[in-house]
């Protein structure tokens, strides 16, 4: 290959970057070549995103240099990076929803004339999208596009602005299974045309499916770089976690379960209006029995959050009836519902589950203040709280963190464990678990899944909202698929294929602008 002769397109040398309390990057050396898909793999907080944001000029490195085409460059802002033909697709898109595809692309062009030639831009978009399979209607308003198409617009923006290095930050997080496949196809065509693709992810399956070279990061350093042929799931895991690779990646599939006479949760024709968002719940009927995990599949934003909020009493039912353990709970307050034995694992632990600047102990106390109040609330029994924290961590087979650590100082995994300990320590009869493993590394995710299976086996009910189909298939006794606020399918996992779920999740017709 002529790669070696040409030398790397981008070289990072000795890049270091520290934030308060954490060294995000520590003397990182890394090369990106033309015509390769380079995956950056690592658990959360390994420093992948920080490193790429330094290359894109979003952060400045404390030390180290960046070479583009062998020349040393000082990248001080994303503008500098774009001039050097480096582009980045962020996790949250940077499109303007009210404008059309062509207008969004035009805004990003390096030399936008005072009166942009609409026809010319639209023609260019059509040419490029045809070439790489990024078909989007240039005249469509971005707001009307599905997430997968919006991502295509992001890529088009970079291509028309002449980027040669394309960085994708967790690009598949928002996509449905078949959209991921088509993204990979696009990436491969771009690679064949000589683009340099950097793909940040923590999902092994994706790395093995599309990368040419794989660099594993661990605690801010490079743990190793492998070519695609050398890499296996096991070698990558051992690089990500040193020797401490998880013994078992998947939880055991559930067996047959008996169905209780009274469901723990029953929704009859429940509809709900969302505050702010446009997704509503429409005529939801579901039953959840004790000792059962009901998996909720769907692209996020299709009513998952509203479903959880309705069950927890945070969102009122506009119509229909909600029964908890056989009692009509339609009008119960959130506090009443919680006291009746319902726990929750929020989708964003820091934003929705704890008070960030409070300590582990204080957050644990908040979970059940009635229990710890003395003299009607005039005092709190902190030793009882501490004992309960120890006990519930112990029951989960974990060791408790320092009781006076602030919640925001905990890592993602430890924070999730503290919530699991608090919620499961109360021995709930029903748990609403929303994306319980999102953002967790492989080890933490596996232990969280095992915990959910354990409480299910002890007779509790679990509503498991997830976007990870492996997780849903691995844990659920039954599955429902949500699309635009409706249950479009209820099935046993063995009776429904991934592809079918993927199409149900996206309403099949995605890919064409409305």
């Amino acid at each position: 290959m002529d790669i070696v002769e040409q030398g790397p397109l981008v070289s990072l040398r000795g890049i270091s970057k520290g934030f308060p309390n954490v060294q995000a990057n520590d003397s990182v050396d890394l090369d990106f070549f033309r015509g390769e898909i380079h995956a950056l793999l690592g658990e959360n907080g390994a420093g992948k995103s920080t490193l790429m944001k330094i290359l894109y000029g979003f952060y400045r490195a404390d030390r180290g240099e960046i070479m583009v085409n062998g020349e040393r460059q000082n990248i001080r802002s994303p503008l500098d990076a774009r001039r050097l033909r480096i582009g980045m697709v962020f996790q949250t898109f940077t499109l303007i929803p009210a404008l059309s595809v062509a207008e969004n692309v035009a805004l990003y062009l390096p030399h936008l004339p005072a009166i942009p030639g609409r026809a010319r831009i639209a023609r260019q978009i059509r040419e490029v999208s045809l070439r790489y399979g990024l078909d989007v209607d240039p005249g469509a308003t971005v707001r009307d596009l599905c997430i997968g198409d919006q991502q295509k617009v992001e890529v088009l923006k970079l291509l028309l602005a002449d980027a040669r290095v394309l960085i994708f930050d967790e690009a598949t997080r928002v996509l449905a299974p078949h959209e991921i496949e088509s993204l990979f196809a696009v990436l491969k065509r771009l690679r064949d045309d000589g683009y340099s693709i950097v793909f940040i992810t923590h999902k092994l399956r994706e790395v093995l499916a599309c990368a040419d070279r794989i660099t594993v990061m661990r605690r801010g350093r490079i743990a190793g770089t492998l070519s695609c042929s050398e890499a296996t799931e096991n070698t990558l895991i051992s690089l990500m976690f040193e020797a401490a690779a998880p013994a078992e990646m998947r939880t055991a599939a559930p067996g047959q379960r008996t169905v209780s006479a009274t469901p723990s949760l029953e929704l009859r024709g429940v509809s709900a209006k969302a505050r702010g968002g446009q997704t509503r719940l429409k005529e939801i009927d579901l039953e959840l029995h004790s000792g059962e995990i009901l998996g909720v599949a769907g692209v996020s934003g299709n009513g998952q959050r509203e479903l959880g909020d309705v069950i927890l009493g945070l969102l009122p039912c506009a119509a229909g009836q909600k029964l908890l353990f056989g009692e009509d709970a339609t009008r119960w307050s959130a506090g009443h519902i919680r006291r009746s034995g319902i726990g929750f694992i929020p989708e964003e632990p820091l934003a929705m589950g704890v008070v960030p600047w409070m300590t582990v102990l204080q957050n644990a106390a908040l979970g059940d203040l009635e229990k710890y109040s003395r003299c009607g609330g005039l005092a709190l029994d902190w030793s009882a709280v501490r004992a309960d924290v120890e006990r519930s961590y112990g029951a989960l087979g974990l060791s408790a963190p320092g009781p006076h650590t602030q919640a925001r100082a905990l890592s993602g995994g430890n924070l999730q464990r503290s919530i699991l300990a608090r919620e499961l320590g109360r021995l709930p009869r029903l748990v609403v678990a929303s994306y319980p493993t999102r953002g967790l590394d492989v080890v933490s995710a596996t232990s969280a899944r095992r915990l959910l299976a354990t409480i299910r086996d002890s007779g509790a009910s679990v509503l498991l909202v997830s976007e990870d189909l492996d997780e849903l298939y691995g844990l659920s006794d039954r599955l429902i698929v949500l699309f635009e606020g409706r249950i479009v399918r209820t099935a046993f996992p063995r009776d429904i294929s991934r592809e079918e779920i993927g199409h149900l999740m996206t309403g099949t017709g995605c890919g064409h602008a409305q």
Binding site: L314, S333, A334, P346, V355, P356, M358, L366, L378, L380
Partner: protein, 351 residues
């Protein structure tokens, strides 16, 4: 364990030292800036400041007057600090103060025959309820998600003095001195007792008691923990089954009640009758004190004393230097400006 305690106490000491340094710096910059204003007005700033120190801190009478000023400042500061723990911004201390005074006046001129032993608790109750219900209106609007409490409390500040004005110009206008718009005099039993033979009155005890209760409730009780949880993360608090709406209304009621006590104490202990415009903006200064002190009880005690000195100094300068009383507002504005600028600066440094 001992070494940990030592580290902790070191940290506390360092924290206190840096806070003290911060306050001193703020004060110095503000005094210098105000000095420049005085110079431009053709006054002698050094003499002015000298006068202030001499006549407020240097004599026992001056000191007692400072403490008299401090009472409403401390109370209205707590009235801002308490809801701020829930993330609520109560700008309405001034209006709540007026409504507390208004309802207390109604009691004082209606039940004229009561003995002092019954009158004082009645006035405290009425002052509290008057200010409290006024603030609870804003609380209800906020809890329902209709109007932001910052806006409603701010706007209600303009209504309360007008209500008081309506009564003192109209139904309650005193017959004995019809030249001045004011209510009839309170019966002697409706005057809060004074202490130490000065103008310092029972309000001081109320203020310190309120401050102590505020600290205890916030730090030690289950309610305090709930309130801090609401302030720290309302989303999580809602999920944990805490009744946000209920807490918002109750806390604003109590906060308004505390500001109402300040108004009641002013009219009952000092003026002995209700006059329109009796407060020189205590409620607004209380807001400033609460933010300057970051809601810390000790900080509020110190800052309310300091600002009481400035207030007392303002009336002094009016006499000695011929500077209008309103000129102290310039100094207050300078202080507030420096504090806000400094918060922004600190934030940028952290980021």
């Amino acid at each position: 364990m001992r070494s940990r305690l030592k580290v902790l106490s070191d940290q506390v000491r360092r924290g206190l030292a840096s806070a003290a340094l911060r306050y001193v710096l703020i004060l110095l910059i503000a005094l210098a800036a105000y000095g420049a204003v005085l110079l431009m007005a053709g006054k002698d700033p050094v003499k002015a400041y000298g006068d202030i120190v001499k006549f407020t801190l240097g004599t026992s009478y001056g000191l007692s007057e400072v403490i008299v000023r401090m009472i409403p400042l401390l109370l209205t500061a707590v009235a801002v600090a308490l809801p701020s723990r829930l993330g609520l911004i109560n700008v309405g201390g001034e209006g709540q103060l007026y409504m507390g005074a208004w309802l207390a006046t109604w009691g004082a001129i209606t039940f004229t025959a009561l003995p002092a032993i019954a009158f004082v608790p009645l006035l405290i109750f009425l002052g509290f309820v008057g200010g409290g219900s006024w603030a609870a209106v804003a609380g209800l609007l906020r809890a329902k998600g209709w109007v932001n409490e910052t806006i409603s409390t701010l706007l209600m500040n303009y209504v309360a003095p007008l209500i008081v004005g309506y009564f003192v110009y109209g139904a309650w206008r005193s017959a004995e001195s019809s030249a001045f718009p004011q209510s009839p005099a309170f019966p002697p039993a409706a005057r809060l007792p004074r202490l130490f033979g000065t103008r310092i009155h029972l309000g001081l005890v109320l203020a310190v008691l309120v401050l102590a209760i505020y600290w205890f409730v916030m730090q030690r009780t289950a309610w305090g923990l709930r309130m801090r949880a609401i302030g720290g993360n309302p989303e999580a608090a809602r999920r944990l089954g805490i009744r946000l709406g209920w807490y918002i209304v109750i806390v604003l009621f109590i906060a308004g009640g505390i500001a109402g006590l300040a108004g009641m104490a002013e009219v009952s202990a000092l003026h002995g009758r209700l006059r329109s415009g009796f407060s020189p903006g205590y409620g607004f200064v209380g807001f400033m004190i609460s933010w300057l002190a970051g809601g810390s009880p000790l900080g509020m005690l110190l800052m309310s004393f300091l600002l009481a000195v400035i207030f007392a100094g303002g009336s002094l300068l009016q006499v000695t230097q011929g500077v209008p009383f309103a000129a102290v507002n310039v100094l207050m504005a300078i202080i507030l400006f420096i504090v806000l600028a400094q918060i922004r600066f600190a934030r940028r440094r952290r980021a």
